[in-house]
Amino acid sequence: MTSAFELILCLMILGTACVALFMRDFLAAVAFFVVFGNLMGLAWLTLGAVNVALAEIAIGAGVTGVLLVLSRSRLLALGEEISCGPAKPWLRLGAAAACSVFTAVLAAAVLSIAPDDGLAPVIDGLMPLIGVENPVTGVLLAFRAYDTLLESFVLLGALVAIWSLAAPAAWPRAPAALRMTDPAALNVAGSFGRLLLPVALVMAAYLVWVGSDDPGGAFQGGTVLAGGFLFAAMGGAIGLPRSDNSALRWSLVAGPLVFLAIGLAGAALGRFLAYPEGTAKALIVTIEYSLALSIGVTLALLVAGPPATTETGL
């Protein structure tokens, strides 16, 4: 029963991936990509990785999907077709052959690795030291906090990179508005956005809070926050900030900054990113809250794109 379910799930994942890649209509392709992401989330659930499932559905399917749809509509507005543009037949054939061989080798390699829970016992042994229950949070914010610290800077850097793309005249304006142009639609979306934003705030706070013991955490919470912001912006409930807005700047750097400061405080007391005994959980929660705020704002602005001269919405 379980096996059959997993088999069907995997087939559906592959099928949706195919459609998402090769469908002629790009909007439909993105729709299938979102479905694909949700199915991936299901797969992660099946694997018992609830944290990853949340992240995959929220970020992998949700944010990425919104990004792709938004880019599509911006490109269409500029008159650019997102063609399926098949390459030359010989290239296609060659690519297909090469990719098949590669996949076969990869599959063989994968088959020769036995699945096991590897470091789970080690992690279980270390968890009492930091006082949180969710082992994934433990890895992300304690045992491999360095990865996460750098990653938070990658996210921040991505936003700066997008800002750097702004046309010379656009700096430091706000990104192109996300609000809907049709007044009636704006009305509908606006009322939903106004309702959603506070709920998203609460949700995010909750997800971060439970993240230390149960599935959840800064990334998942931050994404929910970003979703709230984005919907509110589409509905015109909130406007997009100018990029030189100092409150915005502070909220963008809050997470990385707090993380870095706590890491350096650890270094001053002994070791970089080490938490003094007994303070681990408190510090982790502090980091997670500030990270969630920054991630939420950053993700929303990542989707919104670079500062623009145009005021047109969707």
């Binding site: 990869l106 063989a108 020769s112 800077f153 793309l165």
Partner: protein, 485 residues
């Protein structure tokens, strides 16, 4: 406190600061420069076995940072490049009131991101952590490349993205296979089985794309040639080196026991072709920055040509030192060359080599910087480039590798052909053209870098000694499961 942490934390702190400060962000470089140079010096002066685990979490789970020879050479060189480029860019990327541009504001946080990312990359032994650092560097690099040409930037972005994914795929296979991605642990446990070999292959392929080794170099010349001079300098000097260092870590540390000599020769052969192809393309260029960009393609070849020479050497310390010295010398010289080229091209408001006529008289210092950099890049004595190529040639002759020796010699000669061409144009004409150089003090940056590249030629023994500082043994507990499972 240890420079191992601070070398990463400080640039990131400066990134945050530059974002918060906003318009005055460029002033921060005046604080960052001395701080980072001091930290780099501290790193070099650390005791030989300096290493520690981040947060004191043991391997295989934790992340090990250490100051081995590679880091001790490349971190200071990187810092020097960033300092010089930062001081040079201080004028170019300044927000002028009324004409604000995004790049004047965003260049600075991106610079610090790249700085922190490269340092993090040189100091860590964790392959997944390296993935994150690669992305830090790539992100900043892509944005900087896009400042010159969006199309070239996008091409670079997509290629770099696939390269990172290939690397990530390898890391995933290793993580699943060995339950660790720490290079020092993999060095003990790695076995030559299918997943491991596949992982090495895809990781190397992905990194080679990012390092732009021939024939995977296609994206480099347009991106590096189009970007603003400070960005080009960073792209050519710093960014491509990180991928190379990771390959070095993989091939000579983590999988030293697994990699076959034939594979070494494959890389060496690609390196040899890169030298010849890049040089010939450089000779054919009409635009100065394209020439310098193709010279990067050629010079990167030397780094890989060294692989078989290291692995076959009876005394690998010398070719090993050679490859690191070459990386350092190329960093300094190439950054200097791009900066000098930027100054000259801006002054004559052109981009072709023929536009440089008479500049040796009008801008003697910029031409001198270019010439000194050219000496090191060509491998003429005395310079860091010479020391490196001398040691490589010595190793090649010692091992009887006629082909590699021939390529080294021919590559040096071709290098002279393409690098002396702009110089000879600059020396042409007896009357000096009237040029208007902006902020003439800026020439100090390329001049200092190029002079350092030349001065490296006198510090051969010190460089060899530093580079031979081997990695301390893994400060780690045993793997949870016995190998061979």
């Amino acid at each position: 406190m240890s420079p191992l942490d601070l070398l990463v934390a400080a640039p990131l702190a400066f990134m945050v600061a530059s974002l918060v400060v906003g318009r005055g962000g460029r002033w921060l470089i005046l604080a960052a420069s001395p701080a980072m140079l001091a930290l780099s010096a501290w790193l070099v002066a650390l005791p030989p076995d300096a290493a520690h685990l981040v947060g004191d979490w043991e391997l295989p789970l934790g992340i090990l940072l250490r100051a081995d020879g590679v880091a001790r050479l490349l971190v200071p060189a990187t810092s020097l490049c960033f300092v010089a480029v930062g001081l040079y860019a201080w004028h170019e990327f300044s927000p002028k009131s009324g004409r604000e541009t995004a790049r004047a504001h965003t260049f600075w946080p991106l610079l610090y991101l790249m700085w922190g990312g490269s340092n993090a990359g040189y100091l860590t032994t964790d392959l997944f952590n390296l993935y994150v650092t690669i992305e830090m560097v790539s992100l900043a690099a892509v944005a900087m490349a896009a400042m010159g040409s969006l199309a070239a930037g996008l091409q670079y972005f997509l290629i770099a993205l696939v390269g990172s994914l290939a690397y990530l795929l390898g890391v995933a296979l290793l993580a699943a296979h060995y339950d660790t991605v720490d290079a020092t642990l993999l060095a003990i446990h790695a076995r030559p089985d299918l997943p491991t070999l596949l992982a090495i292959t895809v990781m190397t392929a992905g990194l080679l794309v990012k390092t732009a080794l021939f024939p995977l170099h296609g994206w480099l010349p347009p991106a590096h040639a189009a970007a603003p001079a400070p960005a080009s300098a960073l792209l050519s000097a710093v960014v491509v080196k990180l991928g190379f260092v990771i390959i070095l870590r993989l091939w000579f540390e983590a999988f030293a026991e697994v990699v076959r000599p034939a594979a070494m020769h494959l890389l060496g052969g690609m390196g040899a072709l890169a030298i010849l192809y890049g040089s010939i393309q450089a000779i054919r260029q009409e635009r100065l920055k394209s020439l310098v960009a193709y010279s990067t393609v050629a010079q990167l070849g030397y780094l890989f040509l060294a692989f078989p020479l290291i692995s076959n050497a009876p005394n690998p310390a010398e070719p090993w030192a050679a490859v690191l010295v070459h990386a350092v010398a190329h960093m300094l010289a190439k950054a200097a060359m791009f900066l000098a080229a930027g100054l000259m091209l801006k002054a004559v408001a052109g981009e072709r080599i023929s536009d440089l006529a008479g500049l040796a008289r009008a801008m003697p210092l910029s031409v001198t910087a270019f010439a000194l950099a050219a000496i090191s890049l060509t491998g003429l004595p005395p310079s860091g480039g010479f020391t490196a190529k001398f040691l490589l040639l010595h190793a090649a002759i010692e091992q009887g590798s006629v082909v590699y020796a021939a390529v080294l010699v021919i590559g040096g000669l071709l290098g002279a052909v393409y690098l002396f061409r702009p110089l000879s144009v600059a020396c042409s004409g007896s009357a000096a053209p009237v040029v208007k150089a902006e902020a003439p003090l800026r020439v100090a940056a390329p001049l200092a870098l190029a002079a350092l590249a030349v001065a490296l030629g006198f510090a051969g023994m010190m460089l060899i000694e530093l580079s031979s500082l081997s990695a301390p043994p893994a400060a780690a507990g045993p793997l949870p499961a016995e190998p061979g499972r």
